[in-house]
Symmetry: C2
Subunit: 512 residues, 2 copies
Amino acid sequence: MQRIGIVDLGSNTARLVVYAYEPGRWFRLDDEIRELVRLGEGMGTGRRLSPAAVERAAVALKLYADYARTVGLDRLEVLATSALRDAENGGELLDRIRPLGLDLRILSGQDEAALGVSAVANGFILDDAWVVDVGGGSAQLSRMRGREFADGRAYPLGTVRLTEAHLRTDPPRGGEVKALERTVEDHLGEAADAMARDPAPLVAMGGTIRNLARLVVKTSAYPLARLHGYFLRREDLERTVNRLLGLPLARRLRLPGIHPDRADVLLAGALLYRWLLRRTGQEGVWISGYGLREGAFFRHFLPPPHRIEHLRGFSVRNLFERFPQPTFHVEQVRRLARRLFEELAPIHGLGDDEKELLDDAARLHDIGMAVGYYNHHKHGSYLIERTHLLHGFSHREQALLMLLVRYHRKGTPRWGLLRALARPGDKKLLLRLAVCLRLAEYLERSHSGNVDDVHARIGDQDVVLGIETGEDSAIELWETRKQAPLFELAFGRRLVLEPTRRGRAGVSPAAS
Amino acid sequence: MQRIGIVDLGSNTARLVVYAYEPGRWFRLDDEIRELVRLGEGMGTGRRLSPAAVERAAVALKLYADYARTVGLDRLEVLATSALRDAENGGELLDRIRPLGLDLRILSGQDEAALGVSAVANGFILDDAWVVDVGGGSAQLSRMRGREFADGRAYPLGTVRLTEAHLRTDPPRGGEVKALERTVEDHLGEAADAMARDPAPLVAMGGTIRNLARLVVKTSAYPLARLHGYFLRREDLERTVNRLLGLPLARRLRLPGIHPDRADVLLAGALLYRWLLRRTGQEGVWISGYGLREGAFFRHFLPPPHRIEHLRGFSVRNLFERFPQPTFHVEQVRRLARRLFEELAPIHGLGDDEKELLDDAARLHDIGMAVGYYNHHKHGSYLIERTHLLHGFSHREQALLMLLVRYHRKGTPRWGLLRALARPGDKKLLLRLAVCLRLAEYLERSHSGNVDDVHARIGDQDVVLGIETGEDSAIELWETRKQAPLFELAFGRRLVLEPTRRGRAGVSPAAS
């Protein structure tokens, strides 16, 4: 196991994250320390770090260095972005911190943009995207193609900078907003034209967009407790911008979900995003919980090209490793669920995506046992919702995983509070996948691998499920039989179980 | 690690539980299989097991035996209660299952009553209690004194039996209810007199009382998701009985929280409990989630006298073992929280109970890290609420544990949804304990044991906290200082930190 600390020394905050990991195998976030450094303070109008800002940054970096030493991190990497990159007097800070012996890199605008692409490539199932990261000092815009960084750079359009340059009244006047938008247009106009010509999903990262999404989520009864993968629609952003524009800072600070360190500069970022969506005609923007630091982390975690090959499978394994359950039972349930899915293909009409989802749910079905036996199906669902390890799934797919785990033992599967995430036909889809997992679970009731295989003979009225078993499978048959009503609900056919002894496949003692 | 299966072959259900454990050290529930056997069917009016009931019980026991073999349990113990004890033809069942070679014990009424006391002694912090367990065939009533079984026996007053004997109309008529109550009076009248003469808390176990409590909880917005330790008040029971009496079975079955296997016989049990509370003048009854099987389990888990010595401490350790975190940090936080509590004694006015609770919270403060770093304070609170391992705490104390963990890093501690469990003064108490834990957490911010000790000089306006530290404690001081506003809220005094270097206690470089 290794532990690395990565510091993002931004224009607004300095943030240390600590990852524990085994290269290429698993990782987890172990700690995070955040300081409001405002290194870029005053750079909206000039190009010099203020003495106070240098002092604050030096203090924060000393703290991080002390922390790394006392905690015994294997490595500490400091990534400095636009404030230090653009300052004429960045050397003052570098001189101050030289005794700390830090591994500090001043990222170029392109470096920074490329790390954003690394975060998206390892956080989303997307081949192509436009990636935007609005920080305090600069904003990065990049094009990802085939999960690779194709092009990108930084623009002097960070929220602290834009606020200082344009939004001097509280709340800002219309003329100030227009001036800000003109500045954005001057810098990003061409890039926006390129985006409109070359459409791809827009993914945004950084504290500004997360905070904007949180404001929307808090007022919309969104059913999932996570932002990564959330799609912030343009109309919701427009509504939020209008709300922010009408409020003085003191009242913005009291909005539910707003980050107090960010309340003053959030509006500038919101205006930038509004401009971008209007200008490019994008319907909205995908929120990434990963950002610069994660992009940098993956360069340590994985050899070039620093990309997780099968993102969903990796995520599911990474989560499973957190709450390991006896592998034998889990593998049996996976195998049987897959076989049931295959055998029932003529009547479920589902495809490879659903098969993969069923397999992921089967792997995770018992993780709630870590909390306790009683209600472990509910605990498993909680863990799937709350983990930050599950990437590459849409929110609908995460909801399906939660529901399949939630209903793997009992109850009639229903979307309930998650129904806002369902698509037409998902009610039936949930039932059918849930039946496959439920039958697999009960065909493995005694955790002993008794059932070798299943075969379905599908009729108009019923499905005869041939079950190849070993000696002692009474408990499996007994429990599986109880699931007949659910099967009928899902498939409109009676379930008939036909046990056959191992080695005599096709010859059923019960039927002969 | 050992695994034992314990079967409770009751008059209504047969239930297998599987415990994994290391004797005396830890245990967890691994599995549970429940079958509606209704072995006592027909015994309300006669003394013979019906052929169908014998068949159902034999099938269930064969399943459990198969399960135990395929799963590889170290031991399977079958405990038979009133139906088999009281039947003239119990031998028919024993003959049927002889080939299974089961370790089956037919419990005497006194055995059964004593196991109930074993469950209460290991599930509650009580020295003395009246313990009642209403099953399908019989009801047990026992007296626990000094955590020992003092006296007790079984009465032929189980819910199946009482229902068959008296409640033949749906819903029952007034005369039927009266007749049932006369039967109860005939059997329990003397015992009820003894209870009135010798008062002690009444603790009840078994599916009947749990289901009654669940009906009340479901309609009362009770803030905790657990029944063990819930106090079911007489007026709530009276209300529930009245509701049940007015509904035919078909509508009782649809009540939220009712167990379908129990809906028909629940009313008889409810009438028995109503009679008991009215007759003895008890204000209500404590619900035990532990019952016969747990009582039996503790006889394997612990040497005589089969009692966990320090129930709270054991519970907390048992839970901690589930979600182990680096011991060094946890022990440091415990030590510092204790020292802060001691040093602040003149201004917090709290006693040994609160000190112990703080210590338990300190031990559990990071268990939510098992779910993930982000929001681990919230995950820890979830785990404390949902575990079935935490015994010996009142619901108020569990709420305090949840809240101390919930607020160990940030936020202003408040009771919120749990406020129904708070007593007068608990708002301040929560704040003060939370400050001790919060300061301890941040004095151990880098998980390195840097802070050796703390000393408080308490003034009218401020508290000077002397902090004995090692070399690199800048991060601790930096983070701890941020907690000054919370300290002031809790104690009405400013917090001043005064670091002193190790070995120079009392001499503060900052102050000198």
